[in-house]
């Protein structure tokens, strides 16, 4: 559609680990394939190695011995970042304070020796595309956070990179602006058809932007999958708890039923287990009449947050159980409630440690 349409490259990382010179093991050897044009999100808590992985792909960090990075099947492991043709957006934006907005956006083109008139045309188009018309000659310290973010993005895509790397680009902004820019960013990435790798620790951002999500924990890849897969079929307790709200139930499993303090809860499989770990999302639990319910408990607290209310029930499971109830239901702490959970909504997780 536009002059800035980039052709994404495919990316493969093979056995890429990272041990820093001080001995910190930031990343266990990981292998990952990213398809051309895909938006892949690296998601995980602080310090889990997301930035390290991104910097290895960018070429700012060398993987440990044996690790390889391939772009479109070509080994680029030893190629420095300045020759990899990747666009980067940093959390701090890293805009050049000694250059104006237009000069920032045009810097990569100038370095590439693009003729001045082409450069001006391309910069103008990016300014339009990122909605910052009128700011061309501003200095960076005269911009708001959201405007800086757009300039950083425009600068990164101006060079028509094969791969766009974004390290928590929205984290520094306030919530409302973050939501708006998230939508804009999503549209832009789709329009450009670029391969994007997006780092965040915000799971709703990951769900909205990612074709696939890589959930990371403690330097390891915990799970790779589409947002739906990650949400509905988490592979382990870490993923289940990190993505969305999750009730973790530890109980004994008899004849396909979890034996709980407040009753019994059937699951889909028929196995017996002395110590099973299961997960149920709050929105999969329905409040019903206590009388006759297979599982029941007492309301501990109710939090109203507009679109729904979060009801915490005690005595039903081994721990408190979070339940999402419709916002109109009249309920208060101390009420006795029954809980209805469909067997499909209960996901068994591998017991760990």
């Amino acid at each position: 559609m536009s002059d800035v349409t980039a052709h994404g490259a495919s990316v493969r990382i093979e056995h890429c680990g990272k041990t820093f010179s001080d001995g910190t093991r930031a990343l266990e050897p990981a292998t990952l394939d990213i398809a051309r044009g895909e938006t892949l999100v690296l998601l995980g808590p602080s310090g889990c190695g997301k930035t390290t992985m991104l910097r290895i792909i960018a070429g700012l960090e060398l993987p440990d011995e044996g690790g390889k990075v391939l772009f479109d099947g070509k080994d680029v492991t030893s190629m420095p970042i300045e020759r990899r043709n990747v666009g980067m957006v940093f959390q701090s934006y890293a805009l050049f304070p000694n250059m104006s907005v237009a000069e920032n956006i045009g810097y990569g083109l100038k370095i590439r020796g693009l003729p001045k008139n082409e450069r001006i045309a391309r910069v103008a188009e990016l300014i339009r595309l990122t909605n910052i018309t009128g700011l061309e000659s501003r200095r960076i310290d005269q911009l708001s956070g959201g405007q800086r973010q757009r300039v950083a993005l425009a600068r990164a895509v101006a060079i028509r990179p094969g791969i766009l790397l974004l390290d928590e680009p929205l984290t520094a902004l306030d919530a409302a602006l973050r939501d708006r820019l998230r939508g804009e960013l999503n549209r832009l990435l789709r329009a450009l058809g670029i391969t994007a790798i997006y780092v965040t620790h915000d799971q709703s951002e990951a769900m909205e932007l990612g074709d696939r999500i890589v959930v990371m924990g403690k330097g390891r890849i915990a799970q790779i999958g589409t947002p739906r897969e990650i949400y509905f079929t988490p592979r382990n307790r870490f993923v289940a708890e990190f993505i969305g709200a999750a009730n973790i139930i530890e109980a004994c499993l008899e004849n396909g039923q979890l034996v709980l303090p407040g009753g019994r809860q059937p699951i889909t499989s028929r196995i017996n287990l002395a110590a099973a770990v299961a997960m149920v999302r709050p929105e999969s639990i329905r409040l019903v009449e206590a009388a006759g319910a297979a599982l029941s408990g007492v309301v501990d607290s109710v939090t109203f947050n507009g679109e729904k209310q979060r009801v915490v029930v005690s005595g039903a499971s081994d721990k408190l159980l979070a339940v999402d109830a419709p916002n109109q239901v009249q309920i208060k702490p101390g009420d006795r409630v029954g809980l209805s959970i469909s067997p499909e909504a209960v996901r068994l997780l591998p017991p760990e440690d």
Binding site: N85, V86, M88, F96, N98, E103, Y107, I111, R155
Partner: protein, 285 residues
């Protein structure tokens, strides 16, 4: 009502606050008057009390010997500043960015001469490049000829370098530490070669540190006396000239005029450099 009451209560507090500020100004006023205004005024008056009157001030520019000395001094100070900035930037950048065994010791050694007076620096230059110096010995053994330059303008230049490099290195190191490495990563991701990164990102970011530390190096070199005094055989720099006029010729008015001239010219060149570098930074931006 509430507001009125509180502002009436606030008024005396405001008075005492103003009084407090004035009280704080007192030391500044005293120091300015005692150490700056009064002696400077006296110096300026003395400068005009010679046989030529006010024209005595022009002597520094008109009299061939004075003018030659002035040019010498300015050139020497400018060369010192330039070379100091180059050496200190490269060294400071390396020291700040790399961790290696012995780094702390090296930094300590580099900054060790900070406390040395000019006399000691001059003495060290003589030990290095004087008639009995290391370099002379070495060149004598290798080439059969004693290479001696301690007493020339090159010896003085070396002494000034030795004097100013440690000071500037510390300033540059502090500035390098504050650099955002993200900017360099960003420039590289956009395709900039290591040279382009230095030119477009690092040096512009260090510009304020260059101006500040360069000004100090220049002013120090313009007024340095101890080193020149220790080495002085055939070099004339302004501070030496002032000293000679003052002590040997007892020519008070000329030495006063030269002193004022030294101050004004240094100040003028620094102002010029600052405005030039200011516009250069803006033009680069």
């Amino acid at each position: 009502m509430q507001y009125g009451a509180s502002s009436r209560r606030g008024a005396p507090w405001l008075m005492s606050h103003k009084f407090f500020v004035r009280l704080c100004l007192l030391p500044l006023v005293v120091v300015t008057a005692a150490f700056f205004l009064l002696p400077m005024a006296r110096l300026a008056v003395t400068g005009a009390e010679g046989p030529q009157g006010l024209a005595g001030y022009l002597a520094i520019l008109v009299e061939p010997r004075y003018r030659a000395t002035l040019i010498n001094t300015v050139l020497l100070a400018a060369a010192t500043t330039l070379v100091t900035l180059i050496v200190a930037t490269i060294a400071g950048m390396f020291l700040q960015r790399h961790r290696f065994p012995g780094r702390a010791v090296l930094i300590a050694m580099l900054t060790f001469p900070l406390a040395f007076p000019g006399v000691v620096v001059g003495f060290m230059i003589i030990l290095l490049a004087g008639r009995q110096g290391l370099i002379g010995d070495l060149s004598n053994r290798l080439a059969g000829q004693k290479f001696v330059f301690a007493y020339s303008i090159y010896g003085l230049f070396l002494g000034y370098l030795y004097f100013s490099v440690p000071r500037v290195i510390l300033t540059i190191m502090a500035a390098v530490q504050k650099l955002d490495t993200g900017l360099e990563d960003a420039a590289r991701s956009l395709g900039a070669s290591p040279w382009a990164v230095q030119r477009d990102v690092v040096l512009p970011a260090l510009a304020p540190a260059f101006v500040a530390s360069g000004a100090i190096a220049f002013a120090t070199a313009m007024g340095a006396f101890g080193t020149a005094f220790t080495l002085a055989t055939n070099i004339d720099v302004l501070p030496m000239l002032i000293y000679t006029e003052f002590t040997l010729a007892a020519n008070f008015s000329t030495s006063a005029a030269l002193s004022v001239g030294l101050g004004v010219i240094t100040w003028f060149i620094l102002a010029l450099a600052r405005s030039f570098s200011g516009s250069a930074v803006a033009a680069a931006g």
